[in-house]
């Protein structure tokens, strides 16, 4: 009996863990069935063959998107609103307790989805726009254009990204606009390299030669002939880069150079509440968990897309 009791905490933890996983599986199955039912023809077929991890990932991303978009309506309090004493424990009003200034932790996590994810999305999109366009031009035109763009990308990539961003942020100040531009510049070369490689495989095809011989311009070649054939790996890469950008923003915020207070942001929330860890509280781990859950979810979806685009379907 005594032996069993000493094992109880471990058993309950394991039990809870199993429960969470089971819940995740059930949610993914239901969500997948829902998507299959709702989506039209082709989409339903794609979803039916999708693995559970992919539908779980899609579900989490959807939840984050909804939380971000409808943050003011979902969150019970404002993100900068002081509603309690510092580090107040959770009660029926504050589901996750309060932070170091007495702001509602739950509301800030919700607003954090909007700020952190929103900025990461904007920065990644911008990086993709710059990188992909440059990559496509380099692959299609070749010659000196390829060299100039390629070497510029090498220069940016040769500087460690965190150091480079810290440097640029301390020069230009850390406003949200500057933050997005800097991150986009740092990540664009990676997109450039991938796009150039993928498009490089496409430009040697006979149909590109046929289009060139027809007298088509650069823009038509890129838009109609090359881009549709390089989309799949680019979309997958978007998901992956999004995770890196996201982690970089969280990291910068943790260092105090990213999103500035009182705007809620998961990275800085981890830092602000870090002291609580020594008292055995899990509060600082909640925004950290939000970061890792999204990263895992996005990677699940990206894995699935890579698998689909790689042609390894058997």
């Amino acid at each position: 009996m005594e032996a069993l009791e000493s094992w109880m905490p471990l058993l309950t933890t394991l039990g809870k863990g199993a429960l969470v996983i089971a819940a995740a599986v059930v949610v993914s199955i239901i969500f997948k069935a829902l998507l299959v039912a709702v989506l039209p023809g082709e989409g339903a077929k794609v979803m039916r063959t999708a693995p559970l991890t992919a539908s779980f990932g899609l579900f989490i991303i959807l939840v984050y998107a909804l939380a971000g978009i409808f943050a003011p309506w979902i969150a019970p309090y404002g993100e900068a609103e002081i509603v309690s004493t510092s580090f107040a424990p959770p009660d029926e009003n504050l589901i996750l307790g309060a932070d170091q200034l007495g702001r509602d932790m739950f509301s800030r996590v919700i607003f954090g989805a909007r700020n952190t994810v929103g900025i990461a999305l904007l920065a990644t999109s911008l990086a993709f726009l710059m990188g992909a366009v440059a990559g496509l031009i380099a692959a299609t035109r070749g010659g000196w254009m390829d060299q100039v763009l390629g070497r510029s990308a090498d220069v940016i990539m040769s500087i460690p990204s965190l150091i480079f961003s810290l440097l640029l942020l301390s020069i230009f100040g850390s406003s949200m606009f500057v933050l997005i531009i800097i991150i986009a510049i740092i990540y664009a070369p990676r997109v450039f390299r991938l796009t150039r490689a993928v498009a490089g495989d496409v430009v040697v095809m006979d149909y590109i030669e046929a289009a060139r011989l027809r007298g088509e311009g650069l823009w038509y070649l890129i838009r109609k002939e090359i881009l549709p054939n390089s989309k799949a790996p680019l979309i997958a890469e978007f998901g992956l880069e999004f995770c890196f950008v996201f982690l970089l923003i969280a990291g910068l915020s943790f260092l105090g150079l990213g999103i500035q207070p009182p705007t809620a942001d998961w990275g800085s929330m981890v830092r602000d509440n870090a002291t609580l860890i020594s008292f055995g509280e899990i509060t600082p781990l909640i925004p950290a968990a939000a970061i890792s859950l999204l990263t895992v979810a996005v990677n699940f979806v990206v894995d699935w897309m890579l698998y689909r685009s790689s042609g390894l379907k058997e």
């Binding site: 060139r212 027809r214 088509e216 058997e314």
Partner: protein, 545 residues
């Protein structure tokens, strides 16, 4: 060779073999109950179009199926062993030792990182058939039997250091390494030039005879199978059409389908001749003393020929002879280093970048591989519609009408194909779309680069007839690049023979096909397999090999 006797022991017995393939989330039967008997020392030819299940059956004879396929019924009995019931481990012991496989592309099947002889000795050493030293000696012996040059040394080269025909023979030697009872040849000469094909065919036939090995010879080329096989089995869409001794099959095929296969090579169009010298009309395309090089390597040397309106000029030669390079010079993709290209008497800028839209429109191209020539992500209507829109500025309803007209012209039902994507079409249909795209520009000259060599014979004949019909209705000039002389015979008006970047001989087709020829033309012509089963034997005697 031809007296396949019944009293030889039965080596392979396949009964009611059914194979399913996985597509669109369900299993579909692709081989519907095939029976097959093979005796020791006998060669069975499997022929049929692509999709007939030839390779699938060939692989099943080893107890193997490709990914996404499974044997769903029937039995494959190899010398008393039921292959469908063997474990993967037992099957693996059989393969390479008692059953061997020779693939279509030796270049793709050899590991480029290892020497030929090391790959040769791998199987015998692994299965403890021979020691490494014995096996190496044996390899050299086999190389000699297969008439590879320098048999003592050639094994120590890497695959990229020997030619395609030599590689295919080295692969046959490798299949022989453990003296298997059965070898499966899956289109071993399809990727080779006619002149190289002869050597490989002769080598394969000799060695199979010497070791009394049974073989299944898979091909789509009837003339080739006539040389190699004792018996022939004709397949269509996973069903057997008929089976008979080679001589019987060639002289009196029973089924309609077989007869149509036999008749394919009979298509001939009447030969047209050039307009009178007195008429002042210049040739549509005139290639005049063209030299070209890739970097420092000179690939074309003083190439000259003319293509007149409404006529077909066939450019023939082995791979590497500069046929396609000449086409690249005409289209302006590879500016010549010397010489000029004239179009209707007017000199063209050497690079396509400097040509006017109208000059570009006049010369169109049809490619060998329709798979890579059509963008898989663009709808048929846009693929065909784009040149019409680009050159004639058509849009909206007139454009739609024009595309439908073009689809009609290439004998594809517009309503059915208008909104589809290239991957949904068969090889022949894709090639037709490629033709429609060229026609959409309303050209006066079309370069056909090996347009039929990736297609089955029946489909290829359809394409040739279509091209011929289009030529007479639209008064087109064709430059027809090919290595297949049967195609030349059926469609050409004039022939240009190329070798190593030079024009060896040129003239009207009839003159070219009647002796005396230039030595090289003669070699090319005599190397084209004929349906006569004794052709190879006679030819080898004549050449004194």
């Amino acid at each position: 060779m031809t007296d396949a006797s019944e009293h030889k022991d039965l080596l392979l017995k396949i009964r009611d073999l059914r194979i399913e393939g996985y597509s669109d989330e369900s299993w579909v039967e692709i081989v519907h109950g095939i029976n097959l008997d093979l005796h020791r020392g006998e060669v069975l030819g499997l022929i049929g179009e692509s999709g007939a299940g030839k390779s699938t059956i060939g692989l099943a004879a080893m107890g193997f199926t490709r990914d996404g396929c499974r044997i769903s019924g029937g039995s494959v009995n190899f010398d008393g062993i039921e292959l469908t019931k063997q474990s993967k481990r037992d099957l693996r012991k059989l393969r390479g030792v008692r059953i061997a496989y020779v693939a279509q592309s030796a270049a793709a099947s050899f590991n480029p990182a290892h020497k030929l002889i090391d790959q040769h000795t791998e199987a015998p050493v692994h299965y403890n058939v021979k020691s490494r030293v014995d096996s190496q000696e044996d390899a050299k012996e086999l190389y000699e039997k297969l008439r590879l040059p320098n048999p003592q040394e050639i094994g120590f080269r890497y695959p990229h250091q020997v030619s395609g025909g030599q590689l295919q023979r080295a692969m046959t030697a490798m299949a022989m390494a453990c003296r298997p009872d059965l070898i499966i040849f899956d289109e071993p000469t399809t990727a080779l030039d006619v002149t190289t094909q002869i050597e490989v065919l002769a080598a394969i036939r000799d060695i199979v005879e010497q070791f009394n090995t049974a073989a299944i010879y898979i091909t789509h080329d009837l003339a080739v199978v006539a040389q190699m096989a004792d018996r022939i089995k004709v397949l269509l869409k996973g069903d057997e059409v008929e089976e008979a001794d080679t001589a019987t099959m060639l002289s009196s095929p029973q089924e309609e389908y077989t007869k149509s296969l036999w008749a394919v090579r009979s298509f001939r169009k009447p030969q047209k001749s050039r307009p009178e010298a007195s008429s002042s009309e210049p040739p549509v395309v005139s290639v005049d003393g063209v030299d070209a090089s890739y970097g420092k390597l000179k690939v074309l040397n003083d190439v000259s020929f003319d293509v007149y309106r409404g006529m077909t000029v066939a450019v023939v030669g082995e791979s590497g002879s500069g046929k396609s390079t000449t086409a690249r010079c005409i289209t302006g993709l590879l500016p010549p280093t010397k010489g000029t290209i004239r179009f209707n008497g007017q000199e063209l800028p050497s690079s396509y970048k400097n040509r006017t839209t109208d000059q570009l429109r006049q010369a169109q191209m049809i490619y060998q591989m329709a798979d890579t020539a059509l963008n898989p992500r663009i709808k048929i209507c846009d693929i065909i519609g784009r040149p019409a829109q680009f050159y004639s500025g058509l849009n909206g309803a007139p454009l739609k009408t024009r595309v439908e007209e073009l689809l009609d012209l290439i004998e594809l039902e517009p309503s059915q194909y208008y909104n589809r994507y290239p991957p949904e079409l068969s090889g022949g249909q894709k090639q037709r779309i490629g033709i429609a795209r060229a026609l959409a520009a309303e050209p006066s000259f079309i370069i056909c680069d090996e347009v039929t060599s990736a297609l089955d014979q029946l489909v290829a004949e359809g394409i040739l007839k279509l091209l011929d019909r289009l030529q007479s209705t639209l008064d087109l000039a064709y430059m027809f690049i090919t290595h297949d002389l049967a195609t030349v015979r059926s469609i050409a008006d004039e022939v240009v023979v190329m070798k190593e970047g030079r024009v060896v001989e040129q003239g009207p087709k009839d003159t070219m096909f009647t002796p005396p020829h230039h030595d090289y033309t003669d070699l090319l012509l005599s190397s084209v397999p004929e349906m006569d089963p004794n052709w190879l034997t006679q030819l080898l005697e004549e050449r004194g090999v």
